[in-house]
């Protein structure tokens, strides 16, 4: 690993605008390693944190089911999981509102559920049910309902940044204010031209865009020292003339706080926000990958600590959740996932005979009117 590949959590460039003094306790051990004034969770309510934990749990158990369905051959194609990244992902999804625009990426099951996607539609899309939003025409993480502000990512990394910009420009044309557009990307995706073009464009147009970079230290197998040479990706924000912030990626409370501030700043007209968080994915790139290239030492470091366990500890410690509740939630979510999966497994697959085989919205197959 390069010296720059694991940066210790640092204070965000902007000090919290809320002015609330850090009264609450440092929530997780990872953030206690920080310089001292991040990770306080100032402004994060009990309600939000509980919702965050509950949704992380849903994402985790749902993804475990997806992995099992993949291993048993029920899911074809790729299965890409967000294990270890749920805290960061959920924080963005929770801070968005209905009417905002959201383009999640591959490790955002938690954010998707927080934004309003469902366990049902996730399973339908992975299992190729004709009743799912993608109707078997696309699968897995490539799902969404663009007309509802929930974009369906294309695989090409970086592409969704400018697409969200476009949605925000449209809202501006319609005279809507207070709307936020957000997307997520891995640190590897920041090397694309699209990422750069999109952020620069957002900055020029001063759009209320939030881009969250999950720096999980690897893009597939490539470590960060082969991906970029700058020691800290938040530094890039200055190059675009936008605000850069840093969150502790496996600390739910810190993610909620930092992303909350970023979303609020964007919403109130302060322009694009770049949030970078260090963490580790606790699975392979996809379920086909054993991630043997991730060194044990890194897995055992602070970065390798599981955000779901940390969130559980933290919420219980704060008295925001009881052990019993955590267990009850787990059982309830597990049951919902199992029941939904068995229902979806019985749903019809798309039939090539019924498929219209037409790529046009307003024209016939051959493009005829």
């Amino acid at each position: 690993m390069s010296k720059g590949s694991v940066t210790s959590p640092r204070k965000a460039k902007e000090s919290p605008k809320t002015g609330i003094s850090p009264a609450s306790k440092t929530p997780g051990k990872s953030s206690s390693k920080s310089t001292g004034d991040t990770g306080t969770g100032a402004g994060v309510t009990r309600e939000l944190a509980r919702k965050g934990y509950r949704t992380m749990l849903e994402a985790r158990l749902l993804e475990e089911k997806l992995a099992a369905l993949y291993r048993s051959g029920k899911i074809v194609g790729g299965v890409f999981l967000g294990r270890g990244q749920e805290a960061l992902s959920v924080a963005l999804g929770l801070h968005l509102r209905r009417g905002d625009i959201y383009a999640p990426l591959i490790r955002d099951q938690a954010g998707r559920l927080a934004f309003g996607d469902t366990i049902l539609d996730t399973l339908r899309t992975y299992l190729g049910s004709i009743l799912g939003s993608m109707r078997g025409r696309d699968g897995n993480i490539h799902r969404g309902r663009p007309s509802e502000g929930y974009h369906a990512m294309i695989s090409h990394l970086g592409a969704m940044v400018s697409t969200v910009c476009g949605g925000l420009v449209a809202r501006r044309f319609r005279g809507e204010s207070g709307v936020v557009g957000a997307t997520c990307i891995g640190e590897g995706g920041t090397s694309t031209g699209s990422f750069h073009e999109g952020l620069n464009m957002a900055a020029v147009e001063k759009l209320p865009l939030v881009v969250v970079v999950a720096n999980n230290q690897f893009s597939y197998s490539t470590p960060n020292d082969r991906q970029f040479a700058c020691p800290d990706l938040t530094a890039r924000a200055a190059g675009y003339g936008i605000v850069g912030r840093r969150a502790v990626g496996n600390d739910l409370i810190d993610c909620l706080r930092v992303i909350g501030e970023a979303v609020a700043a964007a919403r109130s007209g302060e322009g694009p926000q770049l949030v970078v968080a260090d963490l580790l994915r606790l699975v392979g790139h996809g379920e086909h990958d054993d991630a043997s290239y991730i060194p044990e030492s890194l897995k055992k470091s602070e970065l390798g600590r599981d955000c779901l366990l940390l969130a559980r500890e933290s919420l219980i410690e704060k008295g925001w959740m009881t052990e019993e509740e955590a267990v009850a939630w787990r059982d309830a979510v597990a049951l919902e996932v199992e029941e939904t999966a068995s229902k979806v497994l019985r749903e019809p697959a798309p039939d090539p005979v019924d498929e219209d085989w037409n790529a046009f919205a307003s024209l016939g197959r051959e493009g005829e009117q």
Binding site: P146, A159, F173, R174, N200, S362, L363, G367
Partner: protein, 322 residues
């Protein structure tokens, strides 16, 4: 009255689109106050404040922005400064715009204007004809207007369409082609036009090659040949019916294209006629395209690189003897 150029027709179509439809906005490099590299948006920024936006030099993000805006119900028109630079926005066009409706059921009504084709001295990177590349992708409509009337009415049609349209306007025609007035009626969408009726050979072509082909047909008429010239107007959809009906009359086909032959529009035309109209042919179908090098800079080379009235006429003579 002053006559209207092909370029002015494009400007006036955008003006009408902006005036008629509040969902329309224009996005491209230097198109605001400056009015565009070719002045296709001259004075529109002033006339429609806030709706003609200068973009950074970011073709990928320009198209991405248009897609995102279209999803929200807008009707963006993106101007590429030259068709050649659309390769930098290729990913968004073919992977996001073209797939969006099929994947998600959400329409993607964007128009991407591509100032296309060769002019003397433009060289390898300001001369390309990209229509075959985009036509390859299901979900994209590819328009190639060859007349002032079509430049105007097809651009309006493109804006009205719920599908993404690649609008290949030909730079060679920008100032050369003139009409006395704007059309008050459009030809039917997706239908080719018999630009010159004849009975001996069918020439199928589009864009600037229409005018070279018409000149060649004129040349052959002095030898007593009647050449029919079909202007495709849109290359996707490709109006196979009109092509086949013409070949049924003439028994001979010459497909002419300004672009390279490999996998191009002429290849598609020949393939369709060969497979669907083999019995109509009295001779092997022929085609004439650009030479297979990058588009050269010097006018002497460029004039030979692309088909011209002269080379089309010789191809026709050859075909008439087969």
């Amino acid at each position: 009255m002053s006559s209207i150029t092909y370029l002015e027709a494009i400007r006036l179509a955008q003006r009408k689109a902006l005036a008629d439809d509040p969902r329309v906005f224009l996005y491209g490099q230097d198109i605001g106050t400056f009015g565009g590299a070719f002045k296709a948006t001259k004075s529109l920024a002033k006339e429609f404040p806030g709706r003609v936006l200068d973009s950074p030099i970011s073709e990928d993000a320009m198209v991405g922005l248009a897609i995102g805006a279209a999803v929200e119900g807008m009707r963006p028109i993106v101007e590429m400064q030259f068709a050649d630079f659309s390769t930098c926005g290729f990913n968004q066009i073919v992977n996001q715009a073209a797939t969006l409706h099929y994947r998600t059921g959400t329409a993607c009504p964007i128009v991407v204007r591509l100032p296309s084709g060769g002019t003397p001295g433009s060289g390898p990177f300001h001369s390309q004809s990209m229509e075959a590349i985009y036509a390859h992708y299901p979900g994209l409509v590819v328009m190639t207007p060859a007349t002032v009337d079509d430049a105007y009415s097809m651009l309006l049609e493109a804006v009205a369409l719920d599908d993404p349209v690649i609008f290949c306007e030909h730079k060679f025609l920008y100032y050369h082609l003139k009409a006395e007035q704007l059309p008050d009626q459009a030809l039917p969408f997706g239908k080719a036009r018999i630009a010159r009726p004849g009975r001996d050979v069918t020439v199928v072509t589009h864009g600037a090659m229409l005018h070279e082909s018409l000149a060649a047909a004129e040349e052959l008429s002095s030898d007593g040949y009647d050449i029919e010239v079909v202007d495709l107007r849109t290359v996707r959809p490709l109006d196979t019916d009109t092509i086949l009906a013409s070949v049924a009359r003439t028994g001979r086909l010459l497909a002419v294209g300004e672009a390279w032959p490999w996998g191009g529009v002429t290849a598609e035309v020949v393939a369709r006629v060969a497979s669907e109209g083999f019995g109509l042919l009295d001779a092997p179908p022929q085609r004439l395209n650009a030479k297979e090098t990058p588009v050269p800079y010097h006018p002497a080379l460029w004039g030979t690189h692309r088909p011209t009235a002269g080379t089309i006429a010789s191809s026709l003579r050859h075909l008439l003897e087969l």
